[in-house]
């Protein structure tokens, strides 16, 4: 895909305006809410970068966001909405844990492979269901994926606090998976683990699939103009299910990676926010799988900053949600792009 240089400039400037507005809103919020705004701002911006622990954890929390961002990008590229990311991540994490728990004696490679596979299949089936309903009966996938995901969140909760609950632990958590399955840490003392390299490779492969293969081309064509795609002989129905399967698979994997790399068990609500943030990541990346990596890092930075400001200063972490909502509000605003374009022409 050739990108016009000036198009690229317009996109980047519009993105800067959006992110600038988001940070401006955050600064205003901090000045209203905080007794010590200077300190809070320092902890928000510099906090995640001040030591190895924070820095590593920031990169670590970008890992599942890259995957959920890829999942959403695949769906968006095909004009499908997957709003069920939250439930798919959660169920994926649970499926991987449930497979790994009875397998403590298996070899690490075998055990990890089939656990991750279970997560991928679980996520794919859940999201694929919405794609299937859409193809078969034109059921709105946006609403159905959200509702299915929300029902699942409660059902996963029930497994975590019920059948799989760790009897020796009072917290709402499953037993820990066997130690040989834990992903290797690469940046102690932080939680950053080796999977970040694999995930980066997956993002590159996703780019290749979407932009360099026949199937990827057909998928994008259905997203750009389904009528035209149908006229061109593409099986449009197939591309209602396939992108949802991919999308769910990425989400399921995100849940498994978060468990195997970081928590080593399913906590109640461990994946909260990963699905929604994936949507923001995909939008900032303009659904480009490679650009998903920096976009996920940006979001991880935002979350880490809010966490640092909450621990060290006097604001609550939800301030990040407000900043995120500003990004959501403005990221698709056509008027901002037109404004930049117009200004550029005028110069």
């Amino acid at each position: 895909m050739k990108v016009n240089r000036s198009d690229w400039f317009v996109t980047a400037s519009a993105l800067l305006i959006t992110l600038g507005a988001a940070f401006a809103v955050m600064l205003v919020m901090i000045f209203i809410m905080s007794e010590t705004p200077g300190e809070t701002i320092y902890y928000f911006f510099a906090g995640p970068l001040t030591n190895k622990y924070y820095l590593g954890n920031m990169f670590n929390s970008a890992i599942p966001l890259i995957l959920t961002g890829l999942g959403i990008a695949f769906a968006f590229r095909s004009s499908m909405f997957n709003l069920g990311g939250e439930g798919q991540v959660y169920a994926g994490g649970l499926a991987a844990t449930a497979v790994a728990l009875p397998l403590p004696a298996a070899g690490a490679f075998f055990g990890i492979t089939i656990s991750l596979l279970a997560a991928v299949v679980t996520g794919a089936v859940i999201a694929g269901l919405s794609g299937f309903f859409k193809m078969k009966w034109r059921t709105d996938e946006l609403i159905s994926s959200f509702l299915i995901s929300n029902a699942l969140i409660y059902i996963v909760d029930n497994f975590i606090t019920g059948p799989l609950d760790d009897p020796e632990n009072n917290l709402l958590v499953t037993s820990k998976i066997a130690e040989q399955y834990w992903f290797k840490k690469i940046f102690l003392p932080s939680n950053l683990d080796i999977s970040i390299f694999f995930i980066a490779i997956i993002a590159v492969l996703a780019f290749y699939y979407l932009f360099k293969t026949h199937q990827g081309y057909e998928m994008r064509m259905c997203g750009l103009n389904p009528e035209f795609a149908r006229y061109g002989g593409i099986n449009v129905g197939k591309y209602m299910i396939l992108p949802m399967l991919w999308s769910g698979a990425f989400h399921g994997l995100a849940g498994a990676v978060a468990v195997f790399g970081t928590s080593h068990a399913c906590y109640k609500g461990f994946s909260g926010g990963m699905g929604w943030n994936g949507i923001a990541v995909a939008l900032i990346a303009r659904n480009n799988p490679i650009a998903v990596i920096p976009a996920a890092l940006f979001f991880a930075y935002l979350e880490a900053g809010a966490k640092s400001a909450m621990i060290n200063a006097d604001v609550t972490i939800e301030i990040a949600s407000i900043v995120q909502s500003v990004v959501f509000f403005l990221i698709t605003a056509q008027a901002i792009y037109n404004f930049v374009k117009f200004r550029r022409k005028a110069v």
Binding site: I143, L147, L283, V315, A320, S321, I322, F328, T332, A335
Partner: protein, 300 residues
């Protein structure tokens, strides 16, 4: 227990439970008719719930609480509408933004004002007055079912009737529906489709604000995320009600009944609480899929 003793309180209960669904769905209908699926309903209900109860507690007046809560919700819906329509942003993404903003804003303000992100109890808040007409209460069955609800329940019925009149009997209603079915024709007539859609969105802000007020003022407390999916279920209620106000009234009642039944079932049977919480979503998906199956069959 005789049959009547069981079913009368059940239906009475269903009517209170359905009220927030009904209100949110009527507001959502206005944007739906204007050609926009409004997924911001969920967040708007939450905004209404939070602000109506804290304003009621601050002013000591239920009326002022509801009024200010609704105004705040209309303001948020205006932001949603202005960015969507005038900055030309994707309505689904701005809808998500509204939901995210609602969750964040309520938590941040709750923490800033009350020092907690948990449940806010307002014990000295007066409870919502309920309508009791002793003379009519004597009517067997119907009297017991229709009276004794709080006034917001009756207001929601009034809103259904007003919505019907507005949609089918006023120039605004014709133009709103025109916007949804053929925005280009509207433009050709010299009317701005965005303005009608904006009014639709503001109406949804009004009804969702009231829906939120019903939730918290009934309880005298604010519970984080008290909207708990009602805005999403309301979207499905709009479809199931065939996109007409009275259809929505019927569909909302079915949902109220289902939820009220599942509450009763919890009392009788040993069903885990998580499954009870999942139940409304499951029946909503099921209803939605069945509806689309029927519709596709009819069209083919």
């Amino acid at each position: 227990m005789s049959n009547g003793e069981f079913s009368i309180p059940l239906i009475h209960n269903s009517i209170s439970i359905m009220t927030p669904f009904l209100l949110a769905a009527i507001g959502g209908l206005m944007t739906e008719l204007g050609g926009m699926l409004n997924i911001a309903l969920e967040g708007l209900i939450l905004i209404g719930a939070f602000f109506s109860v804290i304003f009621a507690a601050a002013t000591g007046s239920l009326f002022l609480g509801i009024l200010l809560g609704i105004l705040m919700t209309i303001f948020i819906s205006w932001i949603f509408g202005a960015i969507t329509l005038y900055l030309k942003a994707n309505v689904f993404i701005t809808g998500l933004a509204t939901n995210l903003l609602a969750g964040g804003l309520t938590a941040v303000l709750s923490f800033h004002l009350f020092g907690t992100k948990g449940v806010l109890m307002f014990n000295d808040l007066p409870s919502l007055p309920s309508l009791n007409v002793p003379a009519l209460h004597g009517i067997p069955v119907l009297g017991d079912i229709l009276f004794g609800h709080n006034i917001l329940v009756y207001m929601s019925w009034l809103i259904v009737v007003v919505a019907w009149i507005v949609i089918y009997r006023t120039p605004f209603g014709f133009r709103l529906r025109g916007t949804g079915s053929n925005p280009n024709a509207m433009s050709a007539l010299g009317l701005k489709p965005q303005n009608y859609q904006m009014i639709g969105i503001l109406i949804s802000g009004f009804t969702c604000g009231l829906a939120g007020a019903v939730l918290t003022l009934n309880l005298g407390a604010y519970v984080p995320n008290i909207s708990s999916g009602r805005g999403w279920i309301a979207l499905v209620v709009i479809y199931l009600g065939g996109k007409t106000p009275f259809g929505i009234l019927g569909a909302a009642f079915v949902f109220g009944l289902a939820e009220s039944l599942s509450n009763y079932a919890q009392g009788f049977m040993d069903i885990p609480a998580d499954f009870i919480l999942a139940f409304p979503y499951i029946i909503t998906v099921a209803a939605m899929v069945i509806m689309s199956v029927i519709q596709t069959r009819r069209e083919d």
